[in-house]
Amino acid sequence: MKKASKHLFLFVILLIGCEEVVVIDLPPTQNLIVIEGFLTNQLEHQEISLSTSTAFLSTSPTSFIENAIAFVRSSENERFDFEYVSNGLYRSQVPFKGKVGVEYQLSLFLDGGLRINSDWDRMPFPTIPDTVLIETFVDSDPENNDLETDFFFPSIRVRDSINYPNFYRWKFLKNNVPLVEPSPITLQSDRFFDGNFIPNEFDEFSYREGDTAIVQLQSITEATFLYLRLLASQITTLGTSSGTTPAQVIGNFSSSDESVVLGYFGTAAIASDTLIMRRQ
């Protein structure tokens, strides 16, 4: 009887809810400048990228800005020049790393005398995970719902520093490919955990046995956290009844002609670990 009622219900609702790609008229494009870059605490060639936005449905490739003068200044009066590489990517001429407690600003000069500055962003103190474990759960196999299979996920404990607001961003790679589901941007603040061990169980980011997982913990500033939170809401919840209203995600750039500049330049103190997913 239970089975029968289940089948009856599935008959009723199995076809509920559907997605369909549609072509609609969109408002005219704005062709805005987009800047992206995070200065890390790792000694390396730091990178930024410059491009312009294009019409949402355009099949044209992204337009890159190739001839900008770009440099990063620090509150200790250091200057780090960047040079163009390709595909909008600019790389610092020398390897350098951001120093904890020092503020950094990205400046750009573009054709026509346009000058763009980012806000200053202070390099946070890096937070190192206390323990990193691999845990498992059993769920239905996405390739065959009638079967069950093991899933692996990272369980990471972090010691949060007390009496100081900390903001974190987590990144996960699966076999060197970034995991973007369920969200490409995973954020955490210590508002509810100040000074505690934070036991994170990232069971949403599931791996299969044998996968290589790279887990990266980035300590970021509050401004970066707020920007990324708004950006994430525009990627992950649009279109649902519980979703946020679509909004412009304005970053931390100002331009000499007061035009809108998209993107963000900030600092991130990174701690990273690599795991091979096996039963422990």
């Binding site: 219900f9 969109l26 949402f56 279109g239 412009q248 998209l262």
Partner: protein, 837 residues
């Protein structure tokens, strides 16, 4: 009578007066003004006694002026006929039933407790009682003193093949001075209207009427004439309900088994109502059968429900208990998934009501409601939310002219989130509660003048949020936002008068909010709460200390100009104020959104609304037509900064903005109320917008054209079919102009908000109702009744757009694509079984 002396004789009044005056010079009268008639006189009576006898027999009136006795024509006195009108079988009060004097144009309507009063010159009358779906009755009343009467009506549904609708009852839309009202009763046709999964629902029914809508199929909340979801005063037996939805808006919290009557006032609110700026949705539970114990219920794919009612003391006291439980642990985001981690939801609710009527002057009611939704998210996160209500009321008839209701109630809405997975297993909870006392008086001066007056005091207690570890050693810290306290009070006076063909209902409501401590109020640079960093100081208020005071005068007036028995013009103006707000920055409200009192930085919202409507009935009130226009101006509508963080935010004022708005529209409505085919057609042309930075921006729920129609055809006494058709303009949507990439993720770039619309929405639903046999083989009526409903929702499987997603193309991730998402992409059949015995 041979041998006996005859002491009485018949005389003409004029002659008698003349003969009396001959012996009593102080007698003064004018025969021109006194109607001559035959009178019986007793020869043995003295002069004084004889005059008194003539007065008692209503031939003359007597007044004395020193030594003179002035004789005037008899002046009839006014007396009041009052009482209760009930269902004969169940003892249920009949709300909004017509009480009229046959052969005259005067009458009245029973109030929310089935009470009525009519003040008339003394005399003999035939009073006609009538109500939709009931057989009318006529009572002969000799009104020579105040009379209390208990009238009962028999339902006509069992005995006739079609629903009988009385002429005067159907004329109520013309006669009533309050415009923009929809009354919904879940009997007859209303009980046959098909909804999703075959459920009968008062709110889903309301959406088929003009000016009342939801954003979409999977969206909680009711928008009335462009108002926000928190601007509806939703009352269950006069107690406030904060969240009227189960199951994310697919079904309301009002169990149809327990509902007697629903009244929705979309525009003008009589001054006895306040605290919300958009509408009043007044739901009254059944009283409970005071004659015999009955059980009713139903079962469908979505829920099972049952009700038991009966007398505690026959004719004096009754009880009602009903319960409803969702049957399937439904998934809200992925119906087809078998994953353990999908979102699932279930709900249940319980209604209880007891009434006791020890005398004709007193009735006591105790009613309660308890509802709960439970949403499982992923493995170990559980969210519970629900309304609770307990309400005591006392109806007292002080005099035949003064009807009074004292109500004391507690209303609560709370949610609780329990998460036993890391990071930091926690419990968070939030609650809003109000403890209220109301006094409502209805004074019936005469047939042309009624007054209402009273007061209400609502003590608000809000617990915006508490978050604490699930177990003492869990990682999360305890975070407790300051509780909020406020006293919202109001005094009101209203008068309804009839002058010729005009009826005028007007009044004034004076409302206040005392926001009280204990609380900490942050001070900001330039008194402008833009960001946490702008905080300059903190003011601390002790318990009970006044933090902020607001008050508003809320004038209301509505005029009905009757253009004969079958048409009228109604115009109204009302001002309403609201001191409590639901903070929600999502497209549709979530059950975990929090309520917030007006405070130092959050002003009350106000709405001014004018309306003008023409009402016309045709073919002996079989057809009811109306056209009504409205214009609303809303001030201090709460808006949100981009990315506003409303969860456990101690400085929530920094996330809020305020906008003025307006909405206007034209509502057309045509209903057929009698015959084998009944139903209605509704159309609304409207616009709702906010003004932000000088720009008018459409509200998320704006629909330019909104058409709906619902019809029922009763094929025979057992079989009927029903259909709904709905079509409306798609809701506003914000389309992107550009795309760009951030860390390889495609980001849509938006410019102007709500710069386009979703495609037109339309849908057809069909249902068939098959009733069990009404009579036994012997021909006797069966006491036990049942019926089946077969429903198909979205018959032609229209994939109506619920929203657009903007994402990277799966084929070419460098390119954006627009994805139309439909909640229901297919026809959905359902079956329900309902019974009563």
């Amino acid at each position: 009578m041979k041998g006996q002396v005859q002491n009485t004789k018949t005389a003409r009044l004029h002659s008698l007066l003349d003969s009396l005056k001959a012996n009593h010079s102080g007698l003064a009268y004018s025969l021109d003004k006194i109607k001559d008639s035959f009178v019986q006189i007793d020869r043995t009576l003295s002069f004084e006694a004889l005059l008194q006898k003539l007065a008692d027999d209503r031939h003359i009136s007597i007044t004395r002026d020193d030594d003179r006795i002035l004789i005037r024509p008899y002046q009839p006195k006014n007396y009041t006929l009052h009482g209760m009108l009930k269902d004969r079988e169940t003892g249920e009060h009949l709300i909004g039933a017509a009480v009229e004097i046959t052969g005259a144009s005067s009458g009245t309507i029973t109030n929310g407790y089935g009470y009525f009063n009519l003040t008339l010159p003394e005399g003999d009358y035939t009073i006609r009682f009538s109500y939709l779906g009931y057989k009318s009755i006529e009572l002969d009343i000799a009104l020579y003193k105040n009379i209390y009467t208990r009238a009962t009506l028999n339902t006509s549904l069992r005995k006739l093949d079609e629903i009988q609708v009385d002429a005067l009852a159907a004329n109520h839309n013309i006669e009533s001075v309050v415009p923009s009202v929809h009354n919904i009763r879940l009997t007859g046709v209303e009980n046959s209207i098909p909804y999703l999964l075959g459920e009968v629902d008062v709110i889903q029914n309301a959406f088929l009427h003009p000016g009342i809508r939801a954003i979409g199929e999977d969206a909680s909340g009711i928008h009335v004439r462009g108002g926000n979801v928190d601007q509806n005063l939703i009352l269950l037996d006069e107690a406030i309900i904060y969240n009227p939805n189960h199951f994310y808006g697919l079904i309301s919290v009002f169990n149809p088994e327990a509902v007697n009557n629903v009244r929705i006032m979309k525009g003008y609110m009589p001054p006895s109502f306040g605290g919300r700026t958009s509408s009043v949705i007044e739901v009254r539970q059944k009283e409970g059968n005071n004659q015999e114990t009955r059980i009713s219920g139903g079962i469908g794919l979505l829920s099972a429900r049952g009700l038991i009612e009966g007398p505690l003391k026959k004719g004096k006291s009754s009880y009602l208990f009903s319960a409803r439980q969702s049957l399937l642990n439904l998934s809200i985001d992925d119906f087809g998934s078998s994953s353990n981690r999908r979102n699932r939801i279930r709900f249940q609710d319980v209604n209880l009501k007891i009434n006791y009527k020890p005398s004709d002057k007193n009735t006591y009611y105790l009613s309660g409601y308890l509802g709960n939704d439970r949403n499982t998210v992923g493995f170990n996160s559980v969210r519970n939310w629900g309304n609770r209500m307990l309400n005591f009321r006392w109806n007292h008839v002080y005099t035949p002219k003064l009807f009074s209701t004292i109500a004391a109630f507690i209303s609560e809405y709370n949610y609780r989130v329990e998460n036993d997975t890391d990071p930091g297993a926690f419990i968070s909870r939030s609650k809003i509660a109000n403890y209220s006392v109301k006094l409502d008086n209805d004074y019936h001066l005469n047939q042309k003048n009624d007054f209402i007056f009273g007061f209400s005091v609502l003590a608000h207690r809000l617990i915006p949020g508490v978050r604490e570890p699930l177990e003492p050693d869990d990682a999360t810290n305890t975070l407790e936002l300051d509780e909020e306290f406020g006293i919202e009070s109001a005094l009101y006076l209203g008068h309804e008068t009839r002058i010729g063909s005009f009826s005028i209902n007007y009044g004034l409501r004076y409302s206040m909010l005392h926001n009280l401590g204990a609380s900490d109020v942050f001070q900001y640079q330039n008194n402008n709460p833009t960001a946490d960093s702008a905080i300059t100081d903190t003011l601390t208020f002790s318990v009970g200390e006044l933090v902020k005071f607001y008050d508003n005068l809320e004038p209301r007036i509505s005029v009905n100009w009757r253009l004969g028995r079958s048409s009228s013009v109604k115009a109204s103006y009302s001002r309403t104020a609201q001191y409590i707000h639901l903070l929600s920055n999502t497209i549709a409200p979530a059950p975990t959104d929090i309520w917030k009192l007006s405070d130092t930085y959050i002003p009350p919202g106000t709405t001014d609304q004018v309306s003008l409507g023409y009402y016309k009935n045709l073919a002996g009130n079989i057809w009811q037509l109306s056209a009504e226009g409205y214009y609303k101006v809303l001030t201090d509508n709460i808006q949100y900064r981009n990315g506003a963080d409303l969860v456990f935010n101690e400085n929530i004022e920094t996330e809020l903005l305020y906008a003025n708005g307006r909405s206007y529209g034209l509502e057309l409505y045509a209903a057929k109320k009698k015959g084998k085919v009944q139903g209605w057609v509704s159309y609304t042309l409207s616009r709702a917008e906010n003004t932000i930075d000088g720009q008018n921006i459409l509200l998320n729920h704006d629909k330019t054209h909104d058409f709906s129609t619902s019809w029922n055809y009763k094929i025979n006494s057992r079989l009927s079919i029903s259909a709904n058709f709905i079509a409306n303009t798609g809701i506003p949507v914000t389309l992107p102009t550009d795309r760009y990439f951030f860390e390889g993720n495609l980001i849509p770039q938006f410019d102007e908000r709500n710069n386009a619309r979703l495609p037109t929405y339309h849908r057809l639903d069909l249902s068939v109702r098959l009733d069990g046999r009404a009579r036994k083989r012997s021909g006797a009526a069966r006491k036990n009744r049942d019926h089946w409903n077969f429903t198909v929702y979205n018959v032609y499987a229209r994939k109506n757009a619920y929203s657009y997603f903007f994402r990277a193309s799966e084929q070419n991730p460098e390119v954006g694509e627009v994805v139309k998402f439909s909640i229901f992409g297919t026809a959905i059949p359902a079956i329900t079984y309902n019974f009563k015995f």
